[in-house]
């Protein structure tokens, strides 16, 4: 089936070449990082994780899109999702590959990455994260590919795929939970030390992943001669609305605990995010943008006439995606380090090299996604117009 990705319109090839160029630029900067060290990034002694780990955290969420299609279709026989479960699984594949790459580019000694396997450490959450992420990647590659092959041959999927699909549901929950545990179990980082971290991750994941999927479905409908169906897209948009509401609610719950208790250690991080600390306000504009976009999107998604309009729905989904990207991909990780355990306020700004490498990894992810979706569309076309 892979050969189908070699046939495409001019637009397809321009897009692929564009992604290749972005990847190449990122790779050149990565070579520079390999040579010089992580000092090419904006990370410091106080803020020791930055854009890379934040992207990783956000993309674990995007990988959730699959389960929001698989669960209704396979457990509740919700037929409208039958056409697009493969799209969700392929999005999960691309997202998990990006996750792995972001962790990899964040390593100070990438050549030693196999030490994680050579010296397995069950007490380390990062060790378990590696296991659940690689498992999730394999499950989604297998199920997505096998189901698409069977669709092509117009035969029912083999029996052994079903248990794998059922397994993918709790497994999707596990990747968010374990990733949240990386943060939520650290003493002394009060911003992350909250039991609601995993539920928060899940809620924002089930909003951002399906939102991205809706955007892709709308693009495919317009430019790809593939219609996911009004019913499927509307059902997805309701999932996004509920998940976004839960996500906003969870953040508000955190804000209540931090500010009503008035425990400085808990409040100061949120203060940094939304107000700034001692004149350090680099994230404030971003966070208020994120909040405004989230509420705007929620408003648009819960008013049925707006939600049913493809154009407005696309805008709402872009809002959801951008809002949650800011929340997870910018705010959540960095703010855990501000202020530091010794109460120093060191701000973080990514460098050009760091941004180029980050864009490079995103470009690789989008390339994988484009190729997989191209194959999906080709198989679909073949069936529609033999």
């Amino acid at each position: 089936m892979l050969e189908k990705s070699l046939k495409g319109s001019r637009g397809y090839w321009i897009w692929i070449i564009f992604l290749l160029i972005v990847t190449a630029i990122g790779f050149i900067f990565y070579l520079r990082q390999l040579d010089y060290g992580l000092g090419v990034t904006g990370m410091s002694r106080d803020v020791s994780w930055g854009l890379y780990i934040a992207q990783f955290t956000f993309l674990v969420g995007i990988a959730a899109s699959a389960v929001m299609l698989v669960l209704p279709y396979y457990l509740h026989d919700y037929k409208a999702f039958g056409k697009i479960t493969v799209l969700g699984e392929f999005l999960a594949v691309a997202a998990v590959i990006m996750c792995v790459l972001f962790v990899f580019v964040d390593l100070g000694q990438p050549s030693r990455v196999m030490n994680v396997l050579l010296h397995p450490s069950p007490t380390s959450i990062l060790f378990w994260d590696m296991i659940v992420l690689s498992g999730y990647l394999l499950i989604n590659i297998f199920t997505g590919w096998v189901i698409l092959s069977c669709n092509r041959k117009e035969i029912p999927p083999p029996g052994w795929v079903k248990p794998l699909i059922y397994l993918s549901i709790p497994w999707a929950i596990s990747i968010h939970t374990v990733t949240a545990f990386i943060y939520a179990g650290l003493p002394g980082r009060s911003f992350w030390l909250t039991a609601i971290m995993a539920p928060r991750f899940l809620a924002s994941a089930f909003a951002s992943g399906p939102a991205l999927l809706i955007i892709f479905c709308l693009i495919l409908k317009r430019y790809g001669r593939f219609d996911a169906g009004e019913k499927a897209i509307q059902a997805l948009s309701k999932i996004v609305a509920y998940a976004l509401a839960a996500s906003i609610f969870f953040v508000l719950v955190e804000l209540f605990t931090a500010f009503y208790s008035q425990i400085p250690e808990h409040a100061q991080h949120f203060l940094y995010l939304f107000n700034g600390l001692e004149g350090h306000t680099k994230l404030v504009v971003w966070m208020w943008t994120s909040a405004a976009l989230a509420f705007a999107a929620l408003g648009m998604l819960i008013i049925p006439p707006i939600r049913r309009n493809d154009g407005w729905l696309a805008v709402a989904c872009v809002f959801v995606f951008v809002s949650l990207w800011i929340e997870k991909g910018l705010g959540l990780v960095v703010t855990g380090f501000i202020p530091s355990p010794l109460e120093a306020i060191t701000e973080y700004v990514p460098t050009g090299a760091e941004i180029a490498i980050t864009l490079g990894v995103w470009a690789i992810g989008f390339m994988i996604l484009t190729i997989l979706y191209r194959i999906f569309i080709a198989v679909h076309d073949e069936k529609e117009n033999p």
Binding site: G37, L38, V116, R189
Partner: protein, 262 residues
């Protein structure tokens, strides 16, 4: 060419003899030959090594003169700690810090000014229950029987999860090659490569040679006391028995082993 058993034994015997002969004929010369192989000849005699059930340190901040950096200089020179000259890349094992920042839970506006104005040293707490060891995905950070929390610079992958896990900010990352930024390289301790994390190691390499920690020996005021917490007769235990002392963020349950006499 065929080698029979007898010939093999003959060659093996001669080879062995050639190795041990110098030691028999001229022991002094042989010893000279051995020394360059190891930088720690003393370590070869384990009886000389300082041992304990749980190493700990007491710091009497009231004895620290305002501008003194003797312990810091000694530690950083002993361990080839680089000086990058900027805060972003900074690597440090011991440094001085404002009292209110070290003890945020204890600090308030009406503590005696003299206490609040103090700037005690901070270093790795060598926690008895170290979160950094728990989170390390490669066991590059580990805890010895005597409580010292160590880093294997050759196994560390530079993921910096330990830096996020440390509630004391004790760990530093080598964001770039540290070697050009070491004033004078001490051949008795390894330099590090870029991309690995480092911190105070309680001078385990000196303990193995029967020497106390460099910072303790460098302190002219005798403000630092190093010893075994499991030995009730040790100097540190007797001192802590007499003087009121604090731990940094004891409520976190990490069981720090640096005791601050206040």
């Amino acid at each position: 060419m065929t080698t029979n058993r007898r010939e093999f034994l003959k060659i093996a015997g001669v080879s062995t003899l050639s190795l041990i002969a110098p030691a028999i004929v001229c022991p002094a010369w042989a010893k000279e030959k051995i020394i360059p192989v190891s930088n720690f000849p003393e370590a070869l005699s384990p009886s000389k090594a300082l041992t304990a059930k749980r190493w700990a340190m007491a710091i009497d901040a009231s004895k620290c003169p305002a501008d003194c950096v003797d312990c810091i200089a000694a530690c950083h020179a002993t361990h080839n700690v680089p000086d990058f000259g900027n805060l972003k890349d900074e690597v440090k094992w011991i440094w001085r810090e404002d009292f209110p920042h070290i003890f945020p839970e204890v600090n308030h506006s009406y503590l005696p000014k003299i206490a609040r104005a103090r700037r005690p040293i901070v270093l790795c707490n060598q926690c008895a229950n170290p979160p950094c060891v728990r989170v390390c995905p490669t066991k590059a950070t580990f805890q010895r029987q005597d409580g010292i929390v160590m880093i294997d610079y050759h196994r560390c992958i530079g993921c910096r999860l330990c830096m996020a896990a440390c509630p004391y900010g004790a760990r530093s990352m080598n964001y770039r090659d540290p070697r050009p930024f070491i004033t004078r390289i001490n051949p008795d301790y390894p330099t590090r490569t870029k991309g690995v994390v480092e911190k105070c190691n309680f001078c385990e390499e000196r303990l193995a040679k029967g020497l106390g920690p460099a910072c303790v020996l460098a302190c002219k005021e005798k403000a630092l006391v190093f010893g075994d917490m499991e030995n009730p007769q040790s100097e540190i235990r007797l001192l802590l028995e007499k003087r009121f002392n604090l731990l940094r963020r004891a409520s976190l349950g990490t069981k720090p082993q640096i005791y601050y006499i206040v």
